[in-house]
Symmetry: C2
Subunit: 512 residues, 2 copies
C-alpha cells in the first residue's frame, strides 16, 4: 500500500520538481523502549482497582445522555438500561475490550513518517486545544490560522516529534463549524507527518475521513488507519453524545480514537490516587467496549489525562506527585488490558515558559517515559494549563523530547560500551578527551540540546545574558525562516481545496 501512495504522491512533474528542491527534515523513528517501565503499584492494589471498577460499572453505571442509539446498542450487548444510565454486568466491558488491537499502525502520507502505536513504542504529538497563543514579542493573544500554520511548520521540522497533531491551537479567526477543514488542510499540506481528525461534531469527523480519502485514496483509508483522534470522556462517567458521535464515525471507518477520561482530580474524580484510577478504568472500559460494539477491532487507545487541583484556588495543577502516580498506575492498568496507553506530555500550569514550566513539564515528561506511555499528546508547546500554545515552549519541549529518545534507547553493554581499553589507555590521573575510545564514540555518546545554553559564562554574558525563553525565541525565528513545504501532488492539493471550498459554501457561519 505504501508504495502506491508514494508513487501517487510523486506523480506530477511539479511535485518532482518540489521534491528535488526540498530541504529534508529528519524525523527520528518511533521510540522503541529498551528500558523497563516504572510500576509503583503492586498487583494486589491493581486487583482492588479492577474489582472496584467493575463494581462501578455494574452498580453505578455510566451515562450516555441524548443518545438512544447507544443505549440500544448497550441493551443488545447485555447491559441494563435505566434512563440514560447504562449498568454493565461485571466482566462484560472487559470481555468486549478484547477485540481491540494491542497495537496498530497510524499511516502518514509520507510512509517514512508512519508510526506504530502500542507495545514498547512511544509516539510524540504536540499540544492540543489551546484557544490562546503566546510568543515573546506578541505576548498572549487569541490564536489565529497563521499561528496554527506556524505550529504545523515547527512540528514538521522537529526531529523528535512524530505527529503533526490535531488542534495545535484553535484558529479563532475561522468560524467553529469550518475551522476543522483549514486545520486538516494545514496538516496535510504543510507537513507529511501523521495527524488527528476533528471531534467537535460527528459531521466534522466525517469531513475528516473524506479529506483523508482524497489525500490517501478511498481504498487505502478503508483498509488502514490514517487518523488518531481524541475522544474525551466527560468525567465522571458521562459519555457526551457529540463525542460519541465522532467516535462512531471513526470506529466505523476503522480510524483510531483515544478514549480519554479528562480529569482534574478532586473535581471530576475522587481526591485519591486509587479512587481516581478506579474511575479512570471504569470509564475507559466502558468507552473502549462501546467502540468495539460499533466495530470489533476498531483501533483505540486507553487514555488518561489527569491533573491534580490546588484546593486553595481550584486551579488544575500539573507535574505534581499525585498526577505522576496516577499516570504510572493507569499505564499498569492499560498494559493489563493489553491496550495502547495515552497520557503525559509537557504539562504545566505556568503562565510563562519559565522555571515553573520547566519543573512541571520535566516531571510529566519523565513520568510519561518511565510509565510506559505509547501516545504522548501535548508533548510540546503546552502552557498555562493548556489555555495557551507557546511558540518558545514548543521548541524548548521539542528539544527535551530528544532526551526521552536517548533515555529510552537503553544502555548498551557490548565491548565498546564497556570501554575497558579506554580505562587502560588513560589510567589514573589521565584524561579521556583525547583517547581513542572517546574519539571513536564522542559524536553519539551524549545527547546534546539544540536550544539550551552550554556556553562559558563570559560568552553567554557578551551575547546578552539570554534566558531560555529568549534562546528559544531565536530558535523559533530561525526554524520558520528555513521551513520548506514537503512535496504533495498538486492534483491532490487542488482536490482538497475544492472539497473545502464546496463544504464551506454549504455551511452557515456558526459559533459552535
Amino acid at each position: 500500500m505504501s508504495e502506491r501512495i508514494a508513487r501517487k504522491r510523486g506523480g506530477g512533474g511539479a511535485a518532482r520538481r518540489a521534491a528535488r528542491q526540498a530541504v529534508s527534515f529528519e524525523t527520528a523513528p518511533t521510540i522503541v523502549r529498551n528500558i523497563p517501565n516504572y510500576e509503583p503499584i503492586d498487583a494486589a492494589t491493581l486487583d482492588i482497582i479492577e474489582r472496584n471498577a467493575e463494581t462501578v460499572l455494574e452498580e453505578i453505571g455510566v451515562s450516555f445522555p441524548e443518545n438512544p442509539e447507544a443505549l440500544e446498542i448497550w441493551r443488545n450487548a447485555g447491559a441494563e438500561i435505566d434512563g440514560d444510565r447504562v449498568r454493565i454486568p461485571r466482566g462484560l466491558a472487559r470481555e468486549l475490550c478484547k477485540t481491540a488491537p494491542s497495537q496498530f499502525t497510524h499511516h502518514a502520507r509520507n510512509p517514512e513518517r508512519s508510526v506504530t502505536i502500542g507495545g514498547d513504542n512511544l509516539v510524540l504529538a504536540p499540544v492540543y486545544g489551546p484557544p490562546f497563543v503566546r510568543d515573546i514579542e506578541g505576548g498572549r493573544r487569541y490564536a489565529v490560522m497563521d499561528d496554527f500554520e506556524n505550529f504545523v511548520r515547527l512540528g514538521y521540522m522537529s526531529k523528535y516529534l512524530h505527529l503533526s497533531g490535531g488542534t495545535v491551537c484553535e484558529p479563532t479567526d475561522i468560524t467553529v463549524n469550518k475551522r476543522h477543514l483549514d486545520m486538516l488542510l494545514a496538516h496535510m499540506t504543510l507537513s507529511d507527518k501523521p495527524f488527528m481528525g476533528s471531534v467537535t461534531e460527528p459531521s466534522r469527523a466525517q469531513d475528516s475521513v473524506e479529506m483523508c480519502e482524497i489525500l490517501f485514496g478511498k481504498d487505502f483509508v478503508r483498509d488502514n488507519t490514517v487518523m488518531t483522534s481524541l475522544i474525551n470522556i466527560n468525567s465522571p462517567l458521562t459519555f457526551d453524545s457529540i463525542m460519541m458521535g465522532a467516535l462512531e464515525v471513526y470506529a466505523k471507518a476503522n480510524q483510531a480514537c483515544i478514549i480519554s477520561p479528562f480529569i482534574v482530580g478532586g473535581a471530576m474524580a475522587p481526591v485519591s490516587v486509587v479512587g481516581t484510577l478506579t474511575q479512570v478504568l471504569a470509564e475507559v472500559l466502558a468507552g473502549v467496549a462501546y467502540s468495539q460494539l460499533i466495530r470489533p477491532g476498531a483501533p483505540v487507545i486507553f487514555g488518561a489525562f489527569v491533573a491534580s487541583i490546588d484546593m486553595n484556588s481550584g486551579a488544575p495543577t500539573f507535574g505534581t506527585p499525585e498526577s505522576s502516580q496516577i499516570l504510572y498506575g493507569a499505564g499498569q492498568l492499560a498494559r493489563r488490558l493489553n491496550l495502547p496507553f495515552r497520557s503525559g506530555g509537557g504539562l504545566c500550569g505556568s503562565k510563562l515558559p519559565d522555571a515553573q514550566a520547566g519543573y512541571e513539564t520535566a516531571n510529566t515528561l519523565n513520568a510519561a517515559l518511565l510509565g510506559g506511555v505509547n501516545f504522548m499528546l501535548h508533548a510540546c508547546g503546552w502552557l498555562e494549563g493548556g489555555l495557551v500554545a507557546s511558540f518558545e515552549k514548543f521548541v524548548m519541549d521539542a528539544d527535551q523530547l530528544g532526551a526521552l529518545h536517548k533515555m529510552a534507547a537503553g544502555i548498551s553493554n557490548d565491548e565498546n560500551a564497556q570501554a575497558m581499553s579506554a580505562i587502560e589507555e588513560v589510567g589514573p590521573g589521565g584524561h579521556y578527551l583525547g583517547c581513542a575510545h572517546t574519539q571513536a564514540n564522542y559524536q553519539d555518546a551524549f545527547w546534546r540540546s539544540d536550544v539550551l545554553d552550554y556556553k562559558p559564562f563570559e560568552t553567554w554574558q557578551d551575547e546578552g545574558s539570554r534566558d531560555t525563553e529568549n534562546l528559544a525565541a531565536a530558535k523559533v525565528k530561525s526554524l520558520l525562516a528555513s521551513y520548506q513545504q514537503p512535496p504533495l501532488d498538486p492534483e491532490i492539493e487542488s482536490k482538497l481545496r475544492t472539497y473545502i471550498a464546496e463544504k464551506k459554501s454549504s455551511l452557515p457561519d456558526s459559533l459552535t
Copy 2:
C-alpha cells in the same frame, strides 16, 4: 544520649527564654521510600561491570600519590604497590567494604533533626561548593560570609531539607585556612540541623571534630556520627593525599564520609554509561576499602557525582539522559554492595533560574528519587554547573523537594483511598468538590507548591505578571525576614567562639 544533649542544650536560663520565644520551623522527617527503585540495568550487565571493576583494580590499579602511609596500609592489606600505584587483588576491596555499615544515624544537636542514612531513607542536603552567589537584585558575585549565613537560615527554615549542609557557598571574604571555622559556627548556631565537616586540609577536618566535641560533648562525638563529609575522588582512579588525609581524620573519629568519584563524563571517565559505571565502582570500592582499613566499621556512603559533557564546548551538562542512566546504575551497584548511596540533586547548567534550570533540575531530582539515592547533596540552590549558589533557586528547589516527599510516600489502597463512597455519592455527571470524601481528605490529598503560581491569569497579570524567579525572590525576602535563631546554650556558643578566636590567631593568613 539524645536526652543528655537535649538537657544540656536547655541548661541555661537564657536558652530557656530563647526557646519560649522561638518560632518553631517544622522539618519533615527523613523520606522513607514506600515506592520501588527504578532499575534499568539488567543483572547480566551489572555482573559485567562488577567483573570489569575488579579487573581495573587488579590490573590497572589506583593511585595514592604523596601518601606513603596509605601505600603501607595497602601493602599490609595485600595490595601490590608500584610507585604510587596500588593494584588490588580481585575481591580484596569488596571484602574490605563488608565492614562498612549499611546505614547509620547522623545526629543533629536537636535530636528531632537527626537523620538515618541508608536503607530506604532519603536525606536532602543543600548545594555545596559554589564560589559565586546570585540573586535577582545583586546578580552574580563572589560569595561572602553574609551570603553563607543567609543560606544556612533558609536551609533551617526549609521544611523539606534535612541537612544544613557544608560549604553552601564559599565565603570568599575570609581566608581559606580560616573560613571553615566560621562556616561550622554558622551551621552550629544559626541552624539545629545536621551538617558536614571541612575536607580542604586534614587539620581542618580535625578542627571540625573539635568544634563538634564542644557542641555535642566529647563522649557523644566519640560514640556517634555527627558529621557526614564529602571526600571527592580525583577521577580517574586517583586518591588525592589531602582528601585522604581528611578521610583518615574522620574515619578515625567514627565520622561519616561520602566517597565520591567526581566525573564529567568524557573527560574523567569513558564516554559510555557502562564504562563510566565500571570506573565509578572501581573508585568507590578502593575508597571505601581504604576507609575500612583506617577503621573497620567507619560509616561511609557510595558516592557518584556524574555530569555529561557537551563535546562542542567542553562544558559539563546536567539533567541529561546519560547522567540519569549512570545515576540509576550506580544506585543498583551501591545496593549490591549494601552501602548507602549518594547522587543527584538539583543539578543544572543554566546561568539563570529559568526554564533550562527547571528542566535539568527536575530531570535530576526525579532520577535521584527513583534511583534510590539515600543522601542527596545539592538538592537545592545549585546553579551554573555548581559555580553559583542562587538564592531564588534555593527556595524554588526546596519547594520541589516537597513533591519528592509526597511521591516517595507511595500509594495507599485502604478503604478511604479506594473512595468508592465518593464515586457512588457523586455519580455520572456530578462533581467531587463538595462530596463528603473530598471534604474529609482535601487538605492532605494533593501536594501544593508554596512558591509556584497557581493563580487565575487575570490575578497573576494584575500582580505584575511575575515569573518564577520573581516569585521566589519575594519568598526569599519573606523567609529571611521571619527567621528566628534556634536556641543554643550560651555557654556552648561562647566556647565555640573562644575556640575559633584562638584557632584563628594561631594561623597565618593563607590563600590555600
